[in-house]
């Protein structure tokens, strides 16, 4: 059989860069295959995607070397439009990819551009919309849809063209765990039913492997490091070397001292088979490791008491919420979109006012405080750093809050120096903000909040849309910050984030606070998981498989052990 995509000694160099980003790529993908491309940030996988769909070199200037043929046509000789008929790309940011005013128009977009007659267009749009289960939402505007629905619309928008290859660029990046799971199931269904070739770029290996893939291509430093089945990959030590997260149950097996071998069928937790001796070894490990210590409780910095809030349109966003945040905690506010997480933060910051209940900041009633005054207790960091930065130079940006409060210049300079030091940005003090990377900009926005010395710093989805390296960089920074005594509150729908980094999770659903517990406990409670659109961890199943009666404790001990390993304790 002829490969549908064939790279032969392929390379790509961006015009603006000195060194090629990709080199020596040899890869054949055959019709009907399902391929996962994984690799750390900067490994070249995004460039590979752009070379496939034609954005490089049509949108990003650069030069091909070697050969890339797509459906038998040398890529050099085909336009971005011709390629889009073979390869349909579902971009990472399905919100920005949504160009139509309604679902129907967005799905029809490619057909409109191909000047397809309107009657035929309407029929095809309806068919494709039904295929991905958005047929009932054709007249809806983008802001009326959930993240998962938007992604389905993006998928429909490329399926409508009857492409041979579906290319998914980090499809899980903006979805909550339960939605991510159904996205993977949907991709699998389309792959099987529609006879498509599927290429998925993702670093969340365990989540993608929820449904099988034929091959995993592991990339590092602009070339292909490995091309093997998921089982082979999981049995190797390549994941650890490239800094990609193994499935949690695999890591747990390794902690227990087991060597992962193909005869265990390690690709999915459902297929994993262990001998009695191996199960006993996991149980031994569980008995051997200590239970994590409960963190000591500090003074309450933020006290939310019986707060209820409804928007002007009558939507009851929060009902009778009570919790308190204590000094030194690293807490996650979790829940799906629309669960009330962001509204809670808006109330704390004073952007909205609750109709009932009290919010105490360091024991003081905040009802009479202005947004500015609250800002001295609670620092709020927005999701997108580009939305916060309003000064050209880093120094001015970080000192903005203080200079607006009329502090003397020496005091500002000292505070800016401190904040930059904490955020490892001291060498850049005189730089313009525009010269920094995304992760560094994020740190600038955090520094600009830290310079005001708030009691609590609150971050909205700090890792949304970030690849694993940036994600790790941001989270480890926040962890260090927390250890240095800063109280941190994170809004997130990322389960791994709360599991791996947070001491405590507040789970919101439909405006109610469903749980206030350790993340390991939250993620071991099936009812809670369903209500909050979370996902059971594979550790829970592994505990069951090995006959460990307390999966919650198993998860907690694993997380504690994993954190210590990461910190090198």
């Amino acid at each position: 059989m002829e490969p549908i995509i064939s790279f032969k000694n392929f390379g790509f160099k961006y015009t603006v860069q000195k060194e090629p980003t990709l080199y020596g790529i040899d890869l054949d993908i055959y019709p009907g295959q399902k391929v996962l491309i994984a690799g750390p940030s900067g490994c070249g996988k995004s460039t590979l995607v752009s070379c496939l769909n034609g954005l490089a070199p049509f949108s990003y200037d650069g030069e091909y070397t070697g050969s890339l043929t797509i459906k038998g046509v040398e890529a050099r000789d085909s336009s971005i439009f011709a390629r889009s008929k073979v390869i349909g790309t579902v971009l990472q940011d399905s919100d920005a990819q949504f160009v139509g005013l309604t679902v129907a128009e967005d799905i029809a977009f490619a057909l409109e551009n191909d000047a397809v007659a309107v009657d035929e267009m309407k029929k095809r749009v309806q068919d494709v919309a039904d295929l991905v289960d958005v047929g009932g939402h054709l007249a809806h505007a983008p802001h009326e849809l959930s993240g998962g629905q938007k992604q389905r619309v993006s998928l429909a928008g490329v399926l409508v063209d009857d492409v041979d290859v579906l290319l998914f660029d980090e499809p899980l990046a903006n979805l909550d765990p339960a939605t991510g799971e159904s996205a993977i199931e949907l991709i699998d269904r389309i792959w099987k039913d529609e006879n498509k070739t599927v290429i998925i770029i993702e670093h969340r290996l365990e989540d993608v492997l929820h449904r099988g893939v034929d091959r995993v291509i592991l990339m590092d430093d602009g070339r292909i490091l490995a091309d093997m089945t998921p089982e082979q990959l999981l049995c190797s030590d390549l994941l650890r070397k490239t800094g990609i997260r193994e499935p949690l149950y695999i890591t747990a097996l390794k902690y227990a001292g087991l060597a992962v071998t193909p005869d265990m069928h390690p690709a999915h937790i459902e297929t994993l088979t262990l001998s009695e001796a191996q199960k006993a070894q996991v149980r031994d490990w569980f008995d051997r490791v200590e239970s994590p210590q409960k963190p000591g409780r500090g003074d309450a910095l933020l006290d939310v008491q019986n707060v209820s809030f409804a928007y002007n349109n009558g939507h009851q966003a929060l009902r009778d919420i009570s919790f308190s945040i204590r000094k030194g905690e690293l807490t996650a506010i979790a829940g799906r979109n629309g669960a009330g997480k962001s509204t809670m933060c808006k109330l704390v910051c004073g952007f909205e006012k609750q109709q009932q209940g009290t919010i105490l900041l360091k024991g003081e009633d905040s009802a009479e405080m202005s947004i500015k005054e609250r800002g001295e207790h609670v620092g709020y960091v927005m999701q997108n750093p580009n939305q916060m930065i309003s000064k050209v130079f880093i120094k001015d940006e970080v000192g903005l809050g203080l200079s607006l409060r009329g502090k003397p210049q020496e005091e500002i300079d000292a505070a800016v120096d401190d904040a930059l030091k904490i955020c490892s940005l001291s060498p850049f003090v005189d730089w313009p903000v525009s010269a920094l990377s995304y992760g560094q900009k994020k740190r600038v926005t955090i520094a600009s909040i830290l310079s005001l010395h708030p009691d609590v710093i609150m971050l909205d989805e700090p890792t949304a849309g970030q690849d694993f390296r940036r994600y790790t960089e941001i989270m480890e920074f926040l962890e260090d910050l927390n250890r240095s005594g800063v109280t941190v509150l994170l809004i997130t729908h990322d389960m791994h984030l709360m599991l791996e980094y947070c001491d405590r999770a507040l789970v919101f659903s439909d405006g109610k606070l469903l749980a206030d517990d350790a993340p390991a406990a939250v993620l071991s409670d099936p009812d809670l998981i369903r209500a909050a659109s979370l996902k059971k961890t594979s550790l829970y199943d592994l505990a069951g498989l090995c006959g460990i009666a307390d999966p919650k404790e198993f998860t907690a001990r694993f997380i504690d052990c994993d954190r210590k390993a990461r910190r090198g304790v």
Binding site: A96, M382, Q387
Partner: protein, 276 residues
């Protein structure tokens, strides 16, 4: 979030018409109304516009804000005309019938009053039609209509695209100002106008930066789905012309022709002159 077009979705024959025919009718109607200073004709147009409103099922309550806005503008316009040119009527009609004196050059004449009546009626004759167009035209159908009457589809689509992203950008602006306020920027009425303008310009930098990010993603997404490949494109929201559409365009044409007829054969000028 309200969109600037304020499209109100109701079922009516006016809604069912294509944006193109409504636009043609609006243009012809406006030319007709603008070129005539015959109060009888303008009043008749106003009456017809009211009937159209009735048909369209748009209620006064839906457009109250725009109505007040244009009325205020109309009053201001009339005041300014009188202030700067109190004898404009006399210049036009060539006669002088004094009503009363206000002092100085401000003498109120019948001619001036007739001229003001004309200006006022012009508003009454055109504003309802403009509001009708705005409230009954689906924005994306409008983009397709623009394309149909000869506007390049890339330009027509940019109208639709702007409508798609304006609410997002509004939301983003709102978020940016809130986060700046939390850091200590005073945006309430307590601050002086000057400092508020300065801070407003401060929000522009983040707004532009994040919009630039967005533009790159959008243009890539559009190119990946063949936008700009062909000379022509079709539109999902395309509608066929019906009898109502032809009726609307004929109505517009009739208004223009009647206006020309009145000017050339009845009044022998753009002005109806009862003073000679």
């Amino acid at each position: 979030m309200t969109n600037i077009f304020n499209y109100i979705d109701r079922k009516s024959p006016v809604h069912a018409m294509t944006g193109a025919s409504k636009l043609v009718c609006l243009l012809l109607w406006s030319f007709g109304a603008m070129s005539s200073f015959d109060p009888r004709f303008l009043f008749a147009l106003f009456a017809v516009a009211l009937i159209l409103f009735k048909i369209s099922k748009i209620r006064v309550a839906d457009i109250r804000f725009m109505l007040w806005f244009t009325l205020a503008f109309c009053v201001l316009n009339n005041l300014l005309i009188f202030l700067f040119s109190p004898q404009h009527g006399t210049e036009i009609y060539g006669t002088f019938h004094e009503v009363f004196r206000l002092g100085g050059r401000y003498v109120v004449t019948q001619e001036q009053l007739l001229y003001h009546l004309n200006v006022f009626l012009k508003y009454l004759a055109t504003i309802p039609i403009v509001l009708l167009f705005v409230t009954t035209t689906d924005p994306s159908e409008f983009a397709s209509s623009l394309n149909r009457i000869g506007v390049n589809y890339k330009i027509a689509y940019s109208v639709s695209l702007a409508l798609r992203y304006i609410p997002d950008i509004q939301r983003e602006y709102h978020d940016i100002t809130l986060s700046l306020q939390a850091r200590g920027v005073e945006m309430s009425k307590k601050a002086s106008l000057r400092s508020r303008l300065k801070t407003a310009s401060g929000t522009l930098v983040p707004l532009i930066l994040s919009s630039m990010d967005r533009i790159e993603v959008i243009s890539n997404a559009m190119e990946l789905r063949s936008f700009g490949k062909n000379k022509k494109r079709t539109w999902y929201r395309y509608r066929k012309f019906t009898a109502w559409d032809f009726g609307a365009m004929l109505l517009g044409l009739a208004v223009l022709l009647l206006s020309i007829f009145l000017t050339t054969f009845v009044n022998h000028s753009r002005y109806y002159n009862p003073f000679v």
